[in-house]
Every structure is written in structure tokens, then in C-alpha cells.
């Protein structure tokens, strides 16, 4: 099985194509010839989701929520229009729900049935999110899954797992890291990782100052 990395590009010389490459190329030629597709539109779709839409957008939303309490309230009440205030939205995130981590509650997002994921704020999902191990275990063993991501929560922190079974798409609002008072939105956004918005990670910790390091 090859769930983790898809079928990687292999080195091909001359016109030699792997079977799947040949099949995909033939299909695109056919659908273009029949007038159903414009290859330039395919290029634009790839460009949009490979280079423009990604977790840096979700990080902006999180950073705004950390500095602006009124925005945070709007985000947690009705996320899609709040996110649209930042010019962010679109396909795969028409109905976003933002769930907030607290010291008492950690949120984890999964799609057990396929790969539903809030595209406009996080981009396309990583392979592990779409693959059977995560989809199978996130709902039955969330602490075990979190441990594989290096996240250990206090036992007193309860976990809610959000299974994305409809067009409502979930994004986690992680806890703001300690020691970030006075940080700019940009500096805060740089601490927000993709995984912290899925719930499989936490925001980046601040570097420990030498004076604070344990002796």
C-alpha cells in the first residue's frame, strides 16, 4: 500500500511514461478534444491551490482572533463571514465552523469518510489526513494519534473530535502561546502551524531566553 506518499515522480527518459502518467495524459487530451476542458483552466486551478491557497491564510485568521476580541467572537459565532472580512473564502470552505481550544478542551478535526478539510484557510489536506490510519484512529484513539504528532495533553484536558461528515468544515483556533503579549499580528501568525489548526499540533513555542533556561 502506498498511502503516505502517493506515487512519486519517477525519473523517465525520453517519452517513457509510467502507466498512470500515460493514462492521465490520454484522459486530458481526450477531454480537451471533446471540448469539456480547457488545459489553461487546469493550470490556473493547480496554481491557485499549489501556490496561493494554504495554511498561511488560516494563520492570519488565528492571529487576528488572538489580537481582536470582537473578531474572535464573530469568528466563533459565524466563522465564514468573519473569515471573509480578511478576504478569505471559497471552494471547500463555504460553511466554516471554528472551534476554540481552551486549557480544558482540545479540538481535533478529521474526515473519517473522505477528506473534507477547510480549503480556503488550510489549503489542500496533507496525505496523512486523507489516509486510512488517521481517518480510522482519530475518532477512537485521539490521544494515541496526538502522541504520534508529539502532542501530549494533560489528562484533565478533554478532547472533542469533529468528524467532517457534511459541508461544514472545521478549523481549530489554538491557544495563544504564553509570552506573546505585544506581538504583532504578523509575528503571531508566524507561530501558527497548519497542524495547530487541525488540532494535531500546537502553535510554535517561543525560543527560551538564555536567562530562563533551567540551570
Amino acid at each position: 500500500m502506498n498511502h503516505h506518499h502517493g506515487d512519486h515522480d519517477h525519473v523517465h527518459h525520453g517519452s517513457e511514461l509510467s502507466p498512470v502518467e500515460a493514462r492521465v495524459r490520454a484522459l486530458e487530451s481526450l477531454l480537451t478534444e471533446k471540448g469539456y476542458l480547457d488545459p489553461a483552466a487546469l493550470d490556473a486551478l493547480v496554481e491557485l491551490y499549489e501556490t496561493k491557497v494554504g495554511p498561511h491564510l488560516g494563520a492570519r485568521v488565528v492571529a487576528r482572533a488572538w489580537v481582536d476580541p470582537a473578531f474572535r467572537t464573530r469568528l466563533l459565532t459565524e466563522a465564514t463571514p468573519a473569515i471573509a472580512e480578511l478576504g478569505i473564502g471559497g471552494r471547500g470552505g463555504e460553511h466554516i465552523v471554528v472551534v476554540e481550544n481552551t486549557p480544558e478542551m482540545h479540538n481535533l478535526v478529521v474526515c473519517t469518510l473522505c477528506s473534507c478539510y477547510p480549503w480556503p484557510v488550510l489549503g489542500l489536506p496533507p496525505v496523512w489526513y486523507k489516509a486510512p490510519p488517521y481517518r480510522a484512529r482519530a475518532v477512537i484513539d485521539p490521544r494515541g494519534v496526538l502522541a504520534e504528532f508529539g502532542v501530549t495533553l494533560p489528562e484533565t484536558t478533554r478532547i472533542t473530535v469533529w468528524d467532517s461528515t457534511a459541508e461544514t468544515r472545521y478549523m481549530v483556533l489554538p491557544l495563544r502561546p504564553a509570552g506573546t503579549d505585544g506581538f504583532s499580528e504578523d509575528a503571531l501568525a508566524a507561530l501558527v502551524t497548519r497542524d495547530s489548526m487541525i488540532g494535531t499540533g500546537l502553535p510554535k513555542a517561543l525560543p527560551v531566553e538564555p536567562a530562563e533556561m533551567p540551570v
Binding site: D9, V20, L30, G90, P133, R158, A166, T168
Partner: protein
Amino acid sequence: MNGAQDLGGAHGFGPVVPEPNEPVFHAAWERRVFAMALAMGYTGAWNLDGSRAARESLPPAEYLASSYYAIWLKALEKQLAATGLATPAEMEAGRAMEPAKPVARTLARDGLEQRFRAGFPSSRATDAPARFALGDEVLARNIHPTTHTRLPRYVRGKRGRIVRVDGAFVFPDTNAYQGGENPVWLYTVAFTAQDLWGESGDPGGTVTVAAFEPYLEPA
């Protein structure tokens, strides 16, 4: 359908293996399959629910042994053949042998980004009142349709509580087969981990699913 896609709670798949600095696509052909699936969906020959139905109806062994975009490719080929937009022989040859069939629209490069940044909402108006309210105890029905559904097996027959009333949405179970959007109310239903998984459930843990009204009955 009780297919291989319904993975919640399954054992034996091993650890989650994140890939550091993972690229968005792992091969050039994945880019084209991704974009072709979206662009063909845009023609209106089928809808997103139909695409999910096509993917999950792959034989379970094949579904589990295929990479993600390989599943998309196989489903796309299946949908093209089923709608008559392309025949298997044409797909094999990579050239047209039959006249093209009319499609409602095609995706042009001009305006594409704006269209995808605007999105394609699946919320709909309904005159029907919501059957359930926030806080209601509900039972996820013990149904096993052989066709597309979005009620995962692991909650069927389980008791939960409404924690959000999400609004009315396109009903995937009929929409997948061009049987109409039939908007119904959607709810977020919370189940305790121990109601779902017994003693192995995470103490104090909760799992929520988004459940369409026909999936639920009063507890």
C-alpha cells in the same frame, strides 16, 4: 454504503506518518487529476456528492490499495463512462471516437480564481421547520443504505445530543444520484467517546458528526 471509505474506528492501519515539508502534490499527474476532477465537476454533469459516491463504490480492496489521487482518477473515469461523456475505448485511446455530449458549462481560465474564491455553497432555503433543537437528545438511526450516505457506521444506533443547528443543506443521499437536492436540516451531534467505544473510549472525550435530519430520530 458500508464501503471501505467508512473508516472511523477501524484497527490495523498502523501509525499516522506525517511527511515533513510535504508538497501539495507528489507527482505531476496528481496535479492534472485534481484539476480535471474539479473542472469536470464544474460542467454540471455530476455533483460533489456523486463524485464521493463514485470514489467510495470502488471495491474495498482496490480503494484501500489506491493512493488518494488514484482513487480520484478511477472515480472520474467511472463518472465519464456512466454519463456517456467519454467511453472506455476513448479513454484508452486518448482521442475522441464519438461526438461530444453537451454540458451545462465549462470552466474557463478567465474569472476562475474569483469563482473558486467565492465558492459553491450547499446551504439551501427550506420551509420545513427544524425537527430538533439545541440540546435535544437524539438517536442516530441504525440504517445501512447500499447507496451513498454520510452517516458513519460508528455512530449508527448511538445516542447523542444536538450541539449545533447548522441550517438546511443539500441532502447528499439523493443528490449523489441526481435525485434532487431535497434540502434538509443539518445538525452537529455530539456523542460521548464511551457511548461510542465503550471502556476503550477516551474518558471525558466527545466525538461529533454533522448529521442530516433524516439520519436522526428523537431519543
